[in-house]
Amino acid sequence: MGRLIRLLLLMGSLLVAGAGAPQQAAAAPEDLAAGLALIAKDSFNDTITGIYAIARSGAPHSAALVEALHDRRLLIDTANQKVFYRDTAGAVRDAQSNDVVATPPANLTAVRLNNRVRSAASAALGALSLMNPDPARRIQSAQAVMKSRDPAALPVLEAAIAAEKLPNVRKELQLAWAAVTFSKSDAPLDKRQEAVALLRDAGTRDAVSVLRSLPADTAAPLREATTSAITSIEQRLALWGYAQNIWYGISLGSVLLIAAIGLAITFGVMGVINMAHGEMVMLGAYTTFVVQEFFRTSAPGLFDYSLAVAIPLAFLVAGGIGVAIERGVIRHLYGRPLETLLATWGISLILQQAVRTTFGPTNREVGTPQFMSGAMEIGGLVITWNRLYIVIFAGLIFVGLLLALRYTPLGLHMRAVTQNRRMASSMGIRTGRVDALTFGLGSGIAGLAGVALSQIDNVSPNLGQSYIIDSFLVVVFGGVGNLWGTLVGALSIGMANKLLEPYAGAVLGKIILLVAIIFFIQKRPRGLFALKGRAVEA
């Protein structure tokens, strides 16, 4: 411990030299009392000298004293030349003994500060925090040193590395050491080479920017090592960048899947273009909002569980409205797909305006439960939890729907009606009822999509509009009446969109994609996985 503090002193004194303060004798241990005596004089130069004396004293409360100085809580009794400080709880303690003083002297004044004193205090604190008992604080200060690349921190860093037990903190400290050593032009060459290796292995953007800072006139061996390190890091970063883009693509694809899959059902089974599909998504999102408001006001403790209520409720609300639309409007328009398109567009306008008048035209705040916020890192990959949950949710819906179509009576009837409506009807299937339930199912799933989208998008009356065209393209691209087509369509459109974005920009990428899909439809007018058989040309 004593050795560490000596190193700390070295750093402190160097910093003081940098700040233009009087040069201190390096590593001459002075005790706490001497430092406090200097501070008690209350002149700036003496205070600065005093801070370092305290910092190197090794007293357990030295950090508290330096912090107190920085925050104007270091107090002097000028009459008796004694120093006190007020701790963060507000109690006045004796600076020498760290005992709480029951009756502090009446005429205490705060030690005067100026910028020089403040920066000296910060430097002393930074050095002290590299050895802070809290690992998070240690990492923080290591990163701060990495940013500043202050050569004065070097001895302290070395000491801290030697003392560090936790591997992850150690890694950060080493990285900081490498950054400082690398940038210090008078450091020995082998040390700097070692630093380059460390930075290369770290492979972060910060490391690249450190390596880039090498002056052009540096000697050849180091320069070459640096250049090759930069290349290797950038290659790795580019690779991670690809992985990140693929993840974004999967994420966007799952969002598209979730939004389009309900449409695929209604379109596939009934040949109905439901322009109000986006509004079903929006209703699902608003259901989430209402449920969360309810939880906020009546059971704030259970807020994390609000989604568990919102999911089934959104399904029921959107599904119920879907059935009502089918019975009320679409039923009258079978065999006239273009008219259905217009009528459902009208319904979408009505629903949008209804939500706008009820909830207002602005975005509503939908909270994210605790377990869905934040992100995790895998190598250079950042994955936010809410996106991951949406991918999982989309997968569950997809599998659930697949199973429902395969193994339930309704699923059987739906498939029968999709393949040959008249034949199914002749076999005694009540196609009208199947239509209503199918439409309800498709709309209900749109409602579920709304719950998911409320977590990543703005909940506003226009929510559905922004997804409707994309959803159509997914369905048309994938092929009607085939859930696998929708899956492939959603994922490939999502992926293509995100992989195009870095090269073409978001808007141009989207335009290219739209044009590509338009051309694709020329090639395969019925999508990737077209239904075959007689029903198609009917």
Partner: protein, 381 residues
């Protein structure tokens, strides 16, 4: 002569042309010759509004030609309208000259603002009126030709076609919103000064533009009428009602469709070009898919496959829109528009004019007319 031949069987058409051409004379007169104090005076605002309606009527007419007679439901006709508008807007921008905010002799203000150094190649020629007017027709026509050529040849029909036309206008909207496209981005083209040397804002110019819109609508009607009354028109209707059968009879369905789609796009482009100087601005929001769908409802309200009905529907719906979006009813306009979509498709599938035709046909069954039976659309999809 040709006109008379066209109209012999078309009583509605005679009325329609009489009204439109009458408006072309009467409205400008009421605006210019009648003093503002008189109750018969038409104000500048009303004149601009009526001119706008006529442009919309021409747009609706062009959509009715493809939807009503050929069964192609284009949800992207707004794109052709907007492209025509942009071509006109570019001409008007070039006419500003040094009167812009930055007083640059060649570059429009927004290009100076974006630090562009020279005019992009696709702006060349737009300082000439003849070139711009040619582009008003050529650009939408060419796009429709290429798009239709590909789409109809690969037999993209029904809702699939509707969706890709919607994707087309959506893609164009995104493109025109980009600043580096060189069409003024978000703000579009505005702040026009002159058209053919006359100040755009002047009353006489406005009156002339109104008359031009009315004449264009009348000509558009005659062209559409000539198409649907011809042999070609009969084939179009048969494509609408039974596409496969028509193909099996030996007609090249895709050629017919491409032709009528292109003609219709050119008409839409002209409508857009007349619209822009009257409202004084063109921006990418004209490409919004919602706009194009709204055009469809104008046609549906007036009567699909009746031509005159489409124009009537455009005027009625837009009149309602102007009336209801101002004042205390404003929050309910979308409810009304939505309800209109639903009610018309369910209870008035033939639109106003189509229903009237049916009514007359029932009242006077003895009077047989080829035109009437033909105008009743019988969608067979």
């Amino acid at each position: 002569m040709i006109t008379r031949a066209l109209l012999t069987d078309d009583r509605t058409g005679k009325w329609f042309l009489a009204i439109v051409l009458g408006l072309a004379v009467v409205v400008p007169l009421l605006h210019l010759a009648v003093p503002p104090s008189s109750p018969f005076h038409i104000s500048t605002a009303t004149l601009a509004l009526l001119g706008k309606y006529l442009c919309f009527a021409l747009l609706a007419l062009s959509l009715d030609l493809v939807w009503g007679y050929c069964g192609i439901l284009s949800l992207g006709h707004g794109a052709f309208f907007a492209l025509g508008g942009y071509a006109m807007g570019m001409y008007l921008m070039r006419q500003i000259g040094t009167r812009g905010v930055y007083a640059h002799p060649v570059l429009p203000d927004f290009m100076v603002f974006l630090n562009w150094k020279e005019l992009p190649w696709y702006w060349y020629g737009f300082e000439n009126a003849w070139f711009a007017f040619l582009m008003v027709m050529a650009v939408p026509g060419l796009l429709a030709f290429v798009f239709g050529w590909f789409a109809f040849r690969s037999r993209v029909t029904g809702v699939y076609l509707s969706i890709i036309t919607q994707a087309l206008t959506y893609a164009l909207m995104l493109a025109f919103f980009r600043n580096d496209m060189g069409f003024g981005g978000n703000n579009g083209l505005t702040d026009f000064k002159d058209i053919l040397g006359f100040p755009v804002q002047a009353n006489a110019t406005r009156a002339a533009l109104f008359a031009a819109s009315a004449v264009a609508l009348a000509l558009g009607y005659l062209v559409a009428r000539a198409i649907v009354a011809s042999r070609l028109g009969k084939v179009l209707v048969s494509i609408r009602d039974a596409e496969s059968r028509t193909r099996f009879l030996g007609y090249r369905v895709e050629h017919y469709k491409t032709f009528v789609f292109t003609v219709s796009a050119i008409m839409a482009g002209i409508a857009g070009a007349l619209y822009v100087p009257q409202v004084g601005i063109i921006n990418p929001s004209e490409f919004t898919p919602a706009n194009s769908i709204e055009v469809v409802i104008w046609v549906a309200v007036g009567g699909r496959g009746t031509l005159a009905g489409a124009a009537l529907g455009a005027v009625l719906v837009n009149f309602a829109k102007t009336t209801f979006t101002t004042g205390f009813l404003a929050p309910y306009w979308l409810f009304m528009l939505g309800a209109l979509f639903v009610l018309v498709t369910i209870w008035l599938p033939k639109g106003i004019l189509g229903t009237l035709y049916d009514f007359w046909a029932r009242r006077r069954p003895a009077e047989k007319s080829a035109a009437k039976s033909e105008t009743v659309p019988q969608p067979a999809e």
